[in-house]
């Protein structure tokens, strides 16, 4: 007989309390589960979430690459590319002697050096070698040594090497700009490293992007105004001139007249930015922008421009320069080529100190100061280049007559080569000063008018006569284009006075005269032997100007005929 039939017949009556107990038991169990669930879900949720995340969630660094620097035609001048650094946890490293030997050889150090690096067990992170070539780091990875790891880093390469060293500067081992444009444009070049939270699967693949903690931002590329061909030629011409004249140093800058762009900027001595093991301060200096010198005769055109502006003289006005010297308060101003009288044009052409001084003394000193100030002397140029020098232009109230006279031919004032080249802009643009830039810019550049169109053209004509056979700079002439420019030969300042046998030879000029396109300024520091600007600096100008005009495709404005050689005495000038 079955239980069902027994119950159905009402033979067995189960007590109600038993069912109640089961029910209460069930409810209690569910209640327990609910409490546990609340406990886990609500109270301990953070802890559990963290444990779960630790098993599959990772925060990844998103690297940002440093922007490239290219020249105006897109030629790469500085590129960051990944390299490997080898690091170790010293306490984990177990090396057999043979392994140690191989590793040391790959790292380019002796086995003893390697052991010394690994002999600090309390340190748990040691760089063995940073920034290795990819082949070497792969070879080390193949050794599979315990406790030795590699890490990806970026290293910056400069294919043009010493040619662009001063302009670009360099970055440190962390790829952060330290000098030059690398430092100036660190903000935009550097980029910003980011990080993000992801889920990874068992095999280590990223399967889901959970959250971007910080977006990575790659550095922006920088396109310079530099033309790498002109830059390369400039460096070569300058270097050979410095070597030929056994000079201490040299600097050169080439400007585009229409846009104010710097086409080339070279310094000698230079260094290789890819290998900076031995660097001296002299090699690091960017002389074009940070070095100051007394420009000497290259300032005379501005004195003459001012005299023309005042309306007191014309290019044909005669200035008495007899007997080729002039004494002012115990100081004598001398001319190398004494003459009884010179026209204003000849004062510039023959580079007469006496003539320039007389013209300056005929004008109020405020006027001369005002012109120099508006030309940017004594003010830091707006180039955005670190360490740009302002130069020294003393307030005119402190000028004595002798200083006003020497200032007329570039003594008692100090400028940088960049300032000097920029000031010549007024003769190239018919009187306007265009702001300079090292970054490629749109062709429209609005200048600030400094002198009148007539004055600018008159001085330009005089500057052209200064490079003719009768002037001081005939070796600046080139075949096919008319050039204009001014030589400068100045005694070097030393210990508060002038050194008798140390000179700075310079030349600043523009071409083609009919429609100027390029200004080139050259400065050679302490040439040995021949020291005149016309014979030391002018040939560098000519060599580079010829090549630059050809590269830019500037139409000729002079016949293509060989030049007559200048007389050997021509380049001598007053210092």
């Amino acid at each position: 007989m079955t239980a069902g039939s027994i119950a159905a017949r009402g033979l067995v009556r189960l007590p109600v309390w038993r069912a109640r107990i089961v029910l209460v038991g069930l409810i209690a169990a569910f209640g327990g589960l609910a409490v546990r669930a609340v406990y886990l879900q609500a109270l301990r949720t953070d802890f559990l979430q963290e444990k779960g995340d630790a098993r599959y969630s990772r925060v990844l660094e998103v690297p940002a690459t440093r922007g490239r620097i290219t020249d105006r035609h897109g030629e790469a001048l500085a590129v960051s590319t990944p390299v490997k650094s080898i690091w170790a946890i010293p306490s984990d490293v177990r090396l057999k002697p043979a392994q140690a030997k191989t590793l040391a050889r790959l790292l380019g150090m002796t086995a003893r050096e390697l052991h010394r690096k690994l002999a600090e067990p309390e340190r748990d992170f040691v760089y063995l070698k940073r920034q290795l070539a990819p082949e070497t780091s792969e070879a080390i990875a193949r050794l599979g040594l315990p406790g030795i790891y590699e890490q990806r880093e970026y290293r910056r390469y400069y294919p043009a090497g010493e040619v662009t060293a001063h302009l670009l500067g360099f970055t440190d081992v962390e790829d952060v700009g330290q000098e030059g444009l690398e430092l100036a444009y660190e903000q935009s070049l550097g980029g910003r490293r980011g990080s993000r939270r992801v889920l990874k699967d068992r095999l280590g693949h990223v399967v889901e992007d959970v959250q971007s903690i910080r977006a990575a931002q790659d550095g922006t590329d920088l396109t310079l105004s530099i033309d790498s061909k002109i830059q390369s030629l400039a460096f070569a011409a300058l270097k050979s001139a410095v070597e030929r004249h056994r000079a201490k140093a040299g600097a050169l800058v080439a400007l585009d007249v229409q846009t104010g762009e710097v086409l080339a900027l070279a310094n000698v001595p230079s260094y290789n930015p890819n290998n900076r093991a031995r660097l001296s301060g002299a090699e690091l200096r960017n002389r074009v922008i940070t070095d100051l010198f007394e420009p000497g005769s290259t300032l005379k055109p501005f004195t003459i421009a001012l005299a023309l502006e005042s309306g007191k003289v014309t290019p044909q006005t005669m200035v008495a320069t007899d007997p080729g010297r002039m004494t002012l308060a115990h100081y004598t101003i001398r001319d190398v080529h004494p003459a009884a009288a010179l026209s204003v044009t000849q004062v510039l052409q023959k580079s007469s100190n006496v003539g320039a001084a007389k013209l300056a003394l005929a004008m109020p000193r405020e006027a001369l100061w005002d012109l120099y100030d508006r030309l940017g002397f004594g003010r830091v140029p707006q180039l955005g280049f670190p360490g740009a020098a302002a130069g020294r232009l003393r307030p005119y109230r402190s000028w004595r007559p002798i200083e006003q006279a020497t200032m007329a031919y570039g003594h008692g004032i100090s400028v940088s080569l960049m300032q000097l080249a920029r000031a010549y802009m007024v003769f190239a643009t018919d009187g306007e000063l265009v702001p300079l830039t090292l970054v490629k810019s749109e062709p429209v550049a609005h200048g600030e008018r400094i002198i009148s169109v007539d004055t600018a053209r008159a001085v330009r004509a005089m500057l052209e006569s200064a490079v003719q056979p009768g002037g001081t700079g005939p070796r600046a002439r080139i075949v096919g284009w008319r050039v204009a420019g001014k030589t400068g030969t100045a005694h070097k300042q030393e210990n508060g006075g002038y050194a008798a046998d140390k000179y700075i030879a310079s030349f600043v000029g523009l071409a083609p005269v009919s429609a100027p396109r390029v200004i080139i300024a050259v400065m050679i520091d302490e040439p040995v032997g021949d020291y005149y600007g016309g014979s030391v600096a002018a040939p560098v100008f000519a060599e580079l100007m010829q090549a630059t005009l050809r590269l830019l495709g500037v139409p000729h404005d002079a016949p293509l005929e060989p030049l007559e050689p200048p007389s050997s005495d021509a380049s001598r000038e007053s210092t």
Partner: protein
């Protein structure tokens, strides 16, 4: 009533399976995307290296040296240059 419940159960199961499948697909696609991103980055690095290489080989001083040395090229003498006007060129 039971029929409706069964139907809803079937729909629920289908939805659940769909969710799992689409999640799986999303992860697969995402990992493919990651791979492509990595690939893109690698290509960019390679482009940088190639740019470096091109710039190194194309250094003006090197080109000038080869032109003058190996190929024997030089800038012509002024006497041997004749300029063509725009009209002559046409």
């Amino acid at each position: 009533m039971a029929k409706l419940n069964l139907l809803l159960l079937a729909v629920l199961v289908a939805c659940a399976l769909g969710l799992v499948t689409s999640q799986h697909k999303a992860r697969k696609l995402f990992s493919a995307l990651e791979r492509e991103h990595d690939h893109g980055r690698e290509l960019d690095i390679e482009y940088g290296r190639l740019q470096l290489e091109a710039s190194t080989w194309g250094q003006h001083s090197r080109v000038a040296r080869i032109a003058a040395g190996t190929l024997g090229l030089r800038v012509p003498d002024a006497r041997r240059v004749r300029l063509l006007g725009r009209d002559d060129a046409q």
